[in-house]
């Protein structure tokens, strides 16, 4: 079946450094992508999204890049802070499906 996967299960970065979390998706019909942040014991929190007609979108300290040619999505976090420590999920929406498919998640650990 179709799936969204992440390249690395855990990413450890130094406070103040930039973080890059990667995601691969397999369905070429996916037209909408979202990054979520999940802290322990809580529900996922929306970070940023991007539609397939874009290749880059910026938010506050975060940037999402979409490469449809290789079906790759990344989340860049600038000046990573201890509060950024969490599990990050990418999710894809397949056109017309009306539901999100989530990847397995990457744990981001920020070292002080």
């Amino acid at each position: 079946g179709e799936s969204v996967g992440l390249h690395l299960p855990t990413l450890s970065v130094q406070e103040g450094d930039n973080s890059i979390i990667n995601c691969a998706y397999s369905n070429s019909a996916s037209d909408y992508f979202i990054w979520y942040k999940q802290e322990s014991g809580k529900g996922p929190q929306f970070i940023i999204d991007i539609r397939s007609n874009m290749d880059k979108r910026q938010g506050q300290r975060v940037t999402v890049l979409l490469n449809k040619t290789v079906k790759h999505l990344s989340l860049q976090i600038a000046a990573t802070q201890p509060g950024d420590s969490a599990v990050y999920f990418c999710a894809e929406n397949i056109y017309g499906a009306g539901k999100l498919i989530f990847g397995q998640g990457t744990t981001l650990q920020v070292k002080p």
């Binding site: 037209d31 909408y32 979202i34 979520y36 014991g41 809580k42 529900g43 996922p44 929190q45 929306f46 999204d49 539609r51 999920f89 929406n93 056109y95 017309g96 499906a97 009306g98 539901k99 999100l100 498919i101 989530f102 990847g103 397995q104 998640g105």
Partner: protein, 113 residues
């Protein structure tokens, strides 16, 4: 503003007992509603979604069922819980347009013993 309420936060149930988890949404009409389950250290698995009252789509065969008796109420149930039903259950809502983000509740940690 829209809010989503999910309860209880934690639940410990014996094997074979029934289950009822409730989720309600405020501040929006005709939302799409979803139940996800998350195993420890894993991603989110879609269990059910609903685009309207009484309309339920099941994603995976399982020991659970869902109902939507009102526009903004979504219920996850089981007649007899199994050990494998343990997990973190998340309710979410989204706008009727399918290409929109989902907003998640705070989750219910279910332990079946």
């Amino acid at each position: 503003s829209q809010t989503i309420h999910q309860w209880p936060a934690t639940l410990v149930q014996p094997v074979g007992s029934p289950l009822s988890l409730e989720c309600t949404v405020e501040g929006t009409s005709n939302p799409n509603l979803y139940w996800y389950r998350q195993a420890a250290g894993r991603g989110l698995q879609l269990l059910f979604y609903s685009v309207g009252i009484g309309q339920i789509s099941s994603e995976v065969p399982q020991n659970l069922s869902a109902s939507r008796p009102q526009d903004r109420q979504f219920i996850l149930s089981s007649k007899k819980l199994l050990l494998s039903d343990s997990g973190f259950y998340l309710c979410a809502w989204g706008a009727p347009n399918p290409n929109e983000k989902l907003f998640f509740g705070s989750g219910t940690q279910l332990s079946v013993l």
